[in-house]
């Protein structure tokens, strides 16, 4: 069966799932997955039966928030926002390998009650089927708070979501994956607002000098290890381009700059610290 047909069939299943649940609150970041889920929910259920809820903190990039608001406005989705304080939790700030569990516990611990006060008993997130293959301790917190993951349950892969997002006219369809900024810090390196801001400044500066597609600035104390799309490596290793890359990252505040020779890979620091396979 052609991929487009499979994706459309999954979307029909998702619409049926949403209809059966009546009213849903979407844990919403403006990333590829949650944006798609919010838009399908809005189209399926109508404006009054869907709310998208954003949790904001220092680990949530400002650029991502802007995209979240843009999509919500463009598709007429009601939005609520709340502040999360995961950095104030020493268990999170110590940056253990299950850091995401403490973040999501903080998020869902605030978001689910907020949804209920607005009459939404069903809370969903944008976890997809591909995510289930990686190390995702945050998923446990979602289960503990009875947050449903219909995209994963119905077998949506990232490719499915991108294909359907394109079809629906979402600006996120080709947006790179965008996990929280804390994912740029190796496990065991404390998460602080200053370090997150440093990484965010460096990534924004690299976008400004023309880095497109996947991008991560991995924090290694004084050193920034930059991961770009593998197809872009040849470009950024050329001396003139390397000079622009270096200048951008140094201006952001890093003393040393390195380019990863393998290029971007999701969960790169999990591999470096033996949490997942190379």
């Amino acid at each position: 069966m052609p991929h487009d047909t499979q994706s459309a069939d999954k979307e029909a299943s998702l619409a049926a799932w949403l209809t059966a649940h009546g009213r849903v609150a979407v844990g919403y970041s403006g990333g590829v997955d949650s944006a798609y889920l919010a838009v399908v929910a809005r189209r399926t259920l109508g404006a009054d039966r869907v709310v998208a809820i954003i949790g904001r903190s220092a680990s949530y990039p400002a650029e991502q928030w802007a995209m979240a608001r843009r999509v919500a406005e463009g598709f007429n989705i009601d939005v609520l926002e709340l502040d999360t304080e995961e950095l104030a939790d020493p268990r999170y700030a110590a940056n253990p390998s299950n850091r995401c569990y403490f973040c999501k516990t903080e998020l869902w611990g605030k978001l689910v009650p907020l949804a209920r006060t607005h009459g939404f008993d069903c809370v969903v997130d944008g976890t997809n089927a591909d995510d289930l293959r990686d190390y995702r301790p945050g998923a446990q917190a979602a289960r503990e708070h009875r947050v449903a993951s219909p995209l994963a349950d119905l077998g949506f892969t990232k490719d499915d979501i991108r294909a359907r997002s394109r079809e629906l006219g979402l600006p996120t369809w080709q947006q790179p994956s965008s996990p929280c900024l804390s994912s740029r810090l190796p496990y065991g390196t404390g998460v602080t607002a200053e370090r997150l801001a440093l990484v965010e400044r460096a990534e924004r500066a690299l976008r400004d000098v023309g880095v497109q597609g996947d991008l991560r600035v991995r924090y290694h104390d004084d050193l920034a290890r930059v991961e770009v799309s593998p197809s872009a490596l040849t470009h950024w290793l050329a001396p003139d381009n390397a000079a622009r890359l270096v200048a951008a990252v140094r201006a952001a505040g890093f003393a040393r700059v390195a380019l990863d020779l393998r290029g971007f890979r999701s969960g790169s620091l999990n591999v470096l610290h033996g949490v997942s396979a190379a």
């Binding site: 065991g188 290694h220 050193l223 290890r225 490596l233 040849t234 290793l237 050329a238 001396p239 390397a242 000079a243 622009r244 890359l245 270096v246 200048a247 040393r256 700059v257 390195a258 380019l259 990863d260 020779l261 393998r262 790169s268 591999v271 470096l272 610290h273 033996g274 190379a278």
Partner: protein
């Protein structure tokens, strides 16, 4: 070769200080050995550089003429293979002071 204190620093969170320092030293020596071996292997391919080991990350420091060699995808592929053979999960090239805007 440069050996960082990262592994030692990480291990000092354990209770038994002497034992941990010994483990850290052994780990540091292991990193240094791997870095040295990788640098030698790279030299055999014609790439002259210093290798700094930070746990699973090999950091190459080379001058600009050497850096230009890495623009070739084939050259990068060979470097990646050697890094993997020497036990590194990640390899990056540092843009040193000579690479300035």
């Amino acid at each position: 070769m440069i050996v960082t204190g990262r592994t030692l620093e990480h291990d000092t969170t354990h209770d038994d200080g002497d034992e941990v320092r010994a483990e850290g030293t052994r780990a540091g020596l292991l990193h240094r050995d791997r870095a040295s071996a990788l640098a030698r292997a790279l030299e055999h391919t014609g790439l002259l550089c210093t290798v700094e080991a930070r746990a699973g990350l090999a950091l190459l420091l080379c001058d600009e003429p050497q850096l230009v060699r890495l623009v070739s995808a084939d050259a990068r592929g060979a470097v990646l293979l050697l890094a993997k053979q020497h036990g590194f999960t990640h390899i990056a090239v540092e843009f040193a002071a000579h690479v300035t805007a």
